[in-house]
C-alpha cells in the first residue's frame, strides 16, 4: 500500500514539475496560463491523493481550495489580464529555450543534491517526490529570472508557490490548516496586488515590458 502511495505521489509530483518545465518550453502567454492551470490541478490531485491515503479531512479542503483558487480562479484572472494587456507573445527570453531546458534539468539535479539530508530523515512514503518539489521551486525561480514579461514572472511566482505547497504536502502531509488558510489568503492578496501594480505599470509606461523598468539605478 505504501509503495503504491509513494509511486502515485511521485507521479503527481512529476506531473506538477512537468507543468513547470512547460513554462520554460512554451512561449505564448495563454500557453503559460494553461500550463499553470494544469499544474495547479495536478497539485490539487496530489493533495487529494494524500488525503485519500492518510484520511485527513483538512487536506481534502486544501485540495478543493487549490482547485478552486489556483486551478480555476487565478487562470481566469490571468487570462483577463493577458487580454487587457495585450502585447506580443513572450519576448525573446534572456536564455533561449534549449538552454533553458538544459538548465531546468540541471536544477532538478541540484534539487536532488540539496534535498539529500531531507530524504535521509524522512520515513514517509511520499518522500521520494520531495526532490521534484524542490526542483519545481528552482525551475520556477529560473522562470522568473529568465523571462521578460511581467505576466510570465507572475506565473513563475505562482508556480514557485505551488512548488512550496507540494514540498509541504509531500514532506509533512500539509501544514496545519489554519496556517494553510493564512498562506492561501496571502497568496491571493499578493496576486491581486501584483495585478494592480501591473495595471499601474501599463498605465504609466504604456507597456509591460519589464526591460523598461530600469529608471532607478545606483
Amino acid at each position: 500500500m505504501d509503495s503504491a502511495f509513494g509511486q502515485l505521489a511521485v507521479l503527481g509530483s512529476s506531473l506538477v514539475l512537468m507543468c513547470g518545465l512547460t513554462l520554460l518550453w512554451r512561449r505564448g502567454s495563454s500557453a503559460h496560463i494553461a500550463a499553470f492551470a494544469a499544474q495547479s490541478v495536478a497539485l490539487a490531485a496530489t493533495a487529494a491523493l494524500i488525503a485519500v491515503f492518510t484520511g485527513s479531512r483538512e487536506l481534502w479542503l486544501v485540495a478543493v481550495a487549490f482547485l478552486g483558487l489556483k486551478g480555476v480562479l487565478m487562470p481566469i484572472l490571468l487570462s483577463r489580464m493577458d487580454r487587457r494587456l495585450g502585447g506580443p507573445r513572450e519576448l525573446e527570453p534572456y536564455v533561449n529555450t534549449a538552454t533553458s531546458l538544459v538548465i531546468g534539468g540541471l536544477l532538478v539535479v541540484l534539487a536532488y543534491i540539496v534535498t539529500r539530508p531531507v530524504l535521509e530523515v524522512s520515513r514517509l512514503p511520499t518522500r521520494s517526490g520531495m526532490p521534484l518539489a524542490m526542483g519545481l521551486i528552482f525551475v520556477s525561480l529560473f522562470v522568473i529570472i529568465s523571462r521578460k514579461k511581467a505576466l510570465t514572472q507572475v506565473i513563475g511566482f505562482l508556480a514557485l508557490e505551488n512548488g512550496i505547497a507540494l514540498l509541504a504536502m509531500l514532506g509533512t502531509y500539509g501544514i496545519p490548516f489554519i496556517v494553510e488558510m493564512g498562506v492561501f489568503l496571502d497568496a491571493l492578496m499578493g496576486f491581486l496586488v501584483m495585478q494592480i501594480v501591473i495595471y499601474r505599470i501599463q498605465e504609466t509606461f504604456e507597456s509591460i515590458d519589464v526591460e523598461q523598468l530600469n529608471r532607478l539605478s545606483q
Partner: protein
C-alpha cells in the same frame, strides 16, 4: 572646598556654562556666563591636577585620588590652564558675532569640548575614554563648523571628522585587542592582560594605537586635516585644538606605551622618534610656505608635536635598552614641551585671532604695520614667536634643551647602528628649530612690522581688554614656564616615575637646584634658565646706563626710509611673505616641487612698461596627492563598481537573489557537509 569635590565642580561648571549658552543665544551676559562656566571648570581642572601633582611630588598619599594619576594630571592641567585664557578671550572675540550668528552652539560646544577633553584624561576604562574622545571630536567639529560660510570650512570639517573616525577605528582596535577574557575594560585590567600577550600582538597594539592617536596628534602623514581644520575654527578654539586637543594624542600614546603595555622593545621608540623627527621637519617646512597666518601656526603645531614625539620616542627607546634614567629625560622633555607648546601655541593662536578680529583677514600679504595699531597684541605675539622659535630664556628653549640632552644621551645606546639615529634626530631637530625661527621672523615681521599693505590693516584696532588679558596671561606663562625649569623637570620626572619599569624615584638623576643639572649616563648638561633670564634683563638694563655714562649721543631724527632715491615709499615696495620664503623654497625645491605662474600685463604702448604682474606660486601637496588621493580614487572606483550592482534590471536583481541562495547552499556543503 575639599579637593574631592573638584571633579564635581569641574563637570558642573562646564555643564552650567553649556546650559547658559543654550539659554542665552546673544548678549553680553551670555558671553560672560559661557566664559565663566569654562573658566571655573578650567580652574577646577587645574586645581585637581595640581593637587595630584603636588601629592605625587611630595611623595605623600594623604588624599586618595583614584581618578587622577600623575600622567593624566599633566594633561588635565594643560586643559585647565589653556581653557581659562581661551574662554576669557572668547568673551571679546565672540562679540563680533553679535547679530550675525547665534552664540548658542559655539558657547555650548566650547564648554562641552573642554569637558570632554578634561574627562578623557580622567577616564580609567575603555568606554568612557572613547566616549569622551569622540565627544571631544564632535564638539570640536561643531566648533570648526561655526563659520561654515567661510570658504573651505566645510571641506576642512569633512576632512577633520573623516580623519577622526579613521583614528577612532585604530584606537578601538588597539583597546579591544587588549581586552581581557572577562571583558573588563578597566585600564588596570587591560594592563594586567597586556602582560600575558605575545610580543607580536603587543607590537600590533602599539602600532594601532600610534596610528590612532597619531592621527589626532597630527603626526605626518596623518596630519592632513590639521592645517585646514585648526584655522577654520574660531581663534580661541584653534588655540584649544592646537594647544590642547592634539596633546591628548600624545597622552594616548603614553597611555598605551607606558601604562597599558608597560613599555616595549626599543624599536617602538625608534618608530615614534622617526615619525616625530619627520613631522617636526615637514611641519616647519610647510609652515614656511604658508601665508595664511593661522594655517602657518597649524603647521607649526605639527612641528611641535614632532618635537614632543622625538622626546617621547627617545624615552621609549632608552626604556627598551634598559636605560631608565635617560628614558626619564626623554619623557620629561616630551611632557615639558607639551606644556610649553600649549602655552605658546595658545598665545599665538589668540594673537592671530586678534589680528583676524582687527583686519578681517588671515592672509599675511594683506597685513603689515600692525605693531603701531595693536601694540600690546604685537608684544604678546612677539613673546610667543620667540618662545616657539626656542629662543632663550623662554619656555620653548628650555624644553627643547631637555629633548636635546636626552638625544645626546643616545650615545649610551649599546647598538651603534641604532645610536647613530640620535645625531640624525638632533640635526633634524636643530634644523626644524632654525627654520621655525626663520618662519616666525616672517610671520611676525610681515604681519606686524613695516607698512600696512591693505586698507583693513591700516584701520586695524587693538583687541578688547578680555582678549589682551588672555594673551598677556599666556605670555607671562611663556616666561614663567621657562624660568621655573629647575622645578618643572624634577616634577615631571616624578610623573613618569614608576611607569613601565622606570625608577620610582628619579630624583637621584634629576635634582633640585636653582640650576638644572642633568647627569644621566652619556649626557651631562647644566643650565640655569632663571640665571639666563636675570642675566639678560640685567645686561639689557645696563646698556643704556653705560651709554649714558660714556655720554653717547642721544640725538634722534625721524626721516624717510631709504628708497634708492625714490621719494615716496609705498607698501608695495616691501618684502612680501612669499618673497621672504623664496630662498628656502628654492633650496628645498626637491620637496616643494614649486610651480609658478607669472602673468604680466604690459602697457599697451610699450612692453617696457608693466601695468600689473600677477604671481602665483604653488607647491606640491605630497601627502594629499600621493597618499590620500590615490586611496580616495581607489575607493571611488570600487564604489563605481559596486554601484553597478544596482543596475536597474529586475532580472539581474532576481538573479542575485538566486545566486546568493545557490552560494549559501554551496557554503553549507563546504562547511557543514
Amino acid at each position: 572646598m575639599t579637593s574631592a569635590a573638584l571633579p564635581v565642580w569641574m563637570v558642573t561648571s562646564y555643564l552650567a556654562g553649556a546650559l547658559a549658552a543654550c539659554l542665552f543665544p546673544r548678549g553680553r551676559l551670555a558671553r560672560w556666563l559661557t566664559a565663566t562656566g569654562a573658566v571655573i571648570g578650567g580652574a577646577s581642572a587645574l586645581a585637581l591636577a595640581g593637587a595630584e601633582l603636588m601629592r605625587s611630588s611630595l611623595g605623600g598619599g594623604q588624599e586618595a585620588f583614584h581618578i587622577v594619576d600623575p600622567l593624566s594630571a599633566v594633561f588635565l592641567a594643560v586643559v585647565g590652564a589653556i581653557a581659562i585664557p581661551a574662554a576669557l578671550y572668547g568673551v571679546g572675540y565672540t562679540r563680533a558675532w553679535e547679530g550675525r550668528r547665534s552664540l548658542r552652539m559655539p558657547g555650548a560646544m566650547l564648554n562641552l569640548f573642554l569637558l570632554s577633553m578634561s574627562l578623557v584624561t580622567l577616564a580609567d576604562g575603555i568606554f568612557w575614554f572613547v566616549f569622551f574622545w569622540e565627544g571631544m571630536a564632535i564638539s570640536s567639529y561643531l566648533l570648526v563648523m561655526t563659520e561654515a560660510d567661510e570658504p573651505g570650512t566645510v571641506r576642512a570639517g569633512n576632512w577633520y571628522l573623516g580623519m577622526t573616525q579613521f583614528g577612532l577605528g585604530f584606537i578601538l582596535a588597539a583597546f579591544f585587542l587588549l581586552l581581557p577574557p572577562d571583558g573588563s575594560g578597566d585600564f588596570t585590567a587591560l594592563a594586567m592582560h597586556a602582560q600575558t600577550l605575545s610580543p607580536g600582538l603587543r607590537s600590533l597594539v602599539f602600532i594601532l594605537a600610534l596610528i590612532g592617536f597619531g592621527s589626532k596628534a597630527g603626526l605626518v602623514p596623518l596630519h592632513v586635516w590639521l592645517p585646514s581644520a585648526h584655522p577654520a575654527a574660531p581663534s580661541h578654539v584653534s588655540a584649544l585644538m592646537s594647544g590642547v586637543m592634539i596633546k591628548l594624542g600624545v597622552y594616548g600614546v603614553l597611555l598605551f606605551g607606558l601604562r597599558l603595555l608597560g613599555g616595549g622593545p626599543a624599536w617602538w621608540g625608534g618608530l615614534v622618534l622617526v615619525l616625530g623627527a619627520v613631522s617636526a621637519l615637514l611641519g616647519v617646512l610647510y609652515a614656511l610656505m604658508e601665508h595664511d597666518l593661522k594655517r602657518l601656526l597649524a603647521y607649526h603645531s605639527i612641528e611641535n608635536i614632532g618635537i614632543i614625539f622625538i622626546g617621547v620616542g627617545a624615552g621609549m627607546m632608552f626604556l627598551g635598552y634598559g636605560l631608565p634614567a635617560l628614558a626619564v629625560l626623554g619623557f620629561v622633555g616630551g611632557l615639558y614641551h607639551t606644556i610649553n607648546h600649549a602655552c605658546f601655541k595658545g598665545l599665538l593662536f589668540l594673537g592671530a585671532g586678534s589680528v583676524l578680529h582687527a583686519t578681517g583677514t588671515r592672509n599675511m600679504e594683506e597685513m603689515g604695520g600692525l605693531i603701531k595699531r595693536m601694540p600690546r597684541t604685537s608684544l604678546f605675539f612677539l613673546v610667543g614667536a620667540a618662545a616657539i622659535s626656542a629662543l632663550p630664556p623662554l619656555n620653548g628653549f628650555v624644553s627643547e634643551w631637555v629633548v636635546f640632552q636626552a638625544l645626546l644621551g643616545g650615545s649610551a645606546i649599546p647598538q651603534r647602528e641604532v645610536a647613530v639615529l640620535m645625531p640624525i634626530a638632533v640635526a633634524m631637530l636643530a634644523l626644524a628649530s632654525g627654520l621655525a625661527a626663520a618662519c616666525f621672523v616672517k610671520a611676525f615681521g610681515i604681519t606686524f612690522l613695516g607698512i600696512a599693505r591693505s586698507h583693513e590693516a591700516r584701520e586695524a584696532h587693538e583687541a578688547p581688554v578680555t582678549m589682551q588679558v588672555a594673551m598677556g596671561a599666556l605670555a607671562l606663562g611663556c616666561v614663567a614656564l621657562g624660568a621655573v625649569a629647575s622645578a618643572m623637570v624634577p616634577a615631571l620626572g616624578r610623573v613618569v616615575a614608576g611607569l613601565a619599569g622606570m625608577p620610582p624615584a628619579p630624583a637621584t638623576a634629576v635634582g633640585w637646584s636653582l640650576g638644572l643639572r642633568l647627569s644621566a649616563p652619556g649626557a651631562v648638561g647644566q643650565i640655569s634658565s632663571l640665571g639666563i633670564l636675570l642675566g639678560l634683563v640685567l645686561l639689557l638694563a645696563a646698556i643704556p646706563v653705560a651709554l649714558w655714562l660714556f655720554r653717547a649721543s642721544r640725538a634722534l631724527r625721524v626721516s624717510d626710509t631709504w628708497g634708492c632715491g625714490r621719494i615716496a615709499q609705498t607698501p608695495r615696495m616691501q618684502y612680501t611673505a612669499t618673497a621672504f620664503a623664496e630662498p628656502l623654497r628654492r633650496i628645498f625645491a626637491a620637496l616643494y616641487r614649486p610651480t609658478e605662474d607669472v602673468s604680466i600685463d604690459f602697457h599697451p604702448e610699450s612692453r617696457y612698461f608693466v601695468q600689473s604682474i600677477a604671481y602665483h606660486a604653488r607647491i606640491v601637496p605630497w601627502f594629499e596627492r600621493y597618499l590620500y588621493d590615490p586611496v580616495i580614487d581607489r575607493v571611488t572606483a570600487w564604489a563605481g563598481g559596486v554601484r553597478a550592482i544596482q543596475s536597474g534590471s529586475l532580472h539581474a536583481y532576481l538573479t542575485y537573489l538566486v545566486a546568493a541562495l545557490v552560494i549559501l547552499l554551496g557554503l553549507l556543503l563546504l562547511w557543514g557537509g
